[in-house]
Symmetry: C2
């Protein structure tokens, strides 16, 4: 006789909450700066239960990356679908390089947020990152109606502009970095 305490699907829901908490914290503060206790607190739990859900922190990093990028692609798709007149890619570029996206790292695209750190992660994490990045480039290329070569250069410009705009300590310079990125990303998409 098998008894099932706690409602059906309870553990999966909690697990998802942990992944969401981690995805937000990693984007806000990087991977190394965020502790397991902090992530668990963000999910409304204490640190001890973590290892009932994940083998180790690295596994959570991989899941959080997958979750965050999928989420961002879905959001950008929604942003693109809202606009009917302009080239849709322009709407996406405008959103990606908006002050709002720059200033709300914890809710935004995880690629510029973690960027440099990913190259130092485990193979498992990099594998997830690679396949999700391919999906992102594919999405951008399709939307801009360009081949994936131009699409990847376009996305590189978007990522680079956002990263630089976030790193400087001078709001006017930061705005200019965003504006320049927007202008030339759109040019690239059109030619």
């Amino acid at each position: 006789m098998i008894t099932i305490p706690y409602p059906k699907g309870h553990k999966i829901k909690v697990r998802n909450k942990i992944v969401e908490s981690a995805a937000q914290a990693f984007r806000a503060s990087g991977i190394q700066d965020v502790s397991v206790p902090f992530i668990m607190k963000g999910a409304g739990l204490t640190h001890g239960g973590f290892y009932a859900h994940f083998d180790n922190k690295e596994q959570l990093v991989a899941e959080a990356c997958r979750y965050a990028i999928s989420d961002t692609i879905a959001l950008l798709r929604k942003v693109a679908d809202q606009e009917k007149q302009n080239p849709k890619i322009n709407t996406v570029i405008d959103y990606y390089l908006s002050p709002y996206h720059r200033d709300n790292t914890e809710m935004g695209c995880i690629i510029p947020a973690l960027s440099g750190e990913i190259s130092r992660c485990s193979e498992e994490v990099r594998q997830v990152f690679t396949s999700e990045l391919e999906r992102m480039v594919s999405f951008i290329s399709t939307l801009a109606e360009v081949d994936t070569s131009k699409g990847s250069a376009l996305f590189s410009t978007m990522v680079g502009s956002l990263v630089l705009a976030r790193s400087v300590n001078h709001s006017e310079l930061s705005d200019n970095l965003l504006s320049a990125g927007k202008k030339y990303a759109k040019e690239l998409a059109m030619t």
Copy 2:
């Protein structure tokens, strides 16, 4: 009577060695992942002496960033001056987006290496980063003979391409990201 133990300028030399060790380690492994003891070992010292040279780790981060970016600009200047025929900017783009630069993070440009992490550093570090980035954009713009708006978009493309090329776990995709970045960065510089 003032006696001067240790050769004149000894401490400054040691201090510079610490900065160099830090600049290399930070580029290779990020800021948070690199400990003060590790940096001191890299300079041939033990950790205790650190606070005779710096108030805290953050101060070293600022100095290491300044050192690394200046060093990179000087290197790119040398790379540009070697080539007499092609547009010099193309030589710099080719170097910046070469597999060599991608694969030797610890010797390369610190901007893509730390990228996301800088936005979470102290004001002091971000101030250094801001002024050094301005110098970099100015250098690139002058070399490409474009205004700083286009120059910053150009550098953003270079940084973004390198960051993405380093983060993926698939060498062909990584090479393609570099190639696409090179192609469209050069196009941007020429139009």
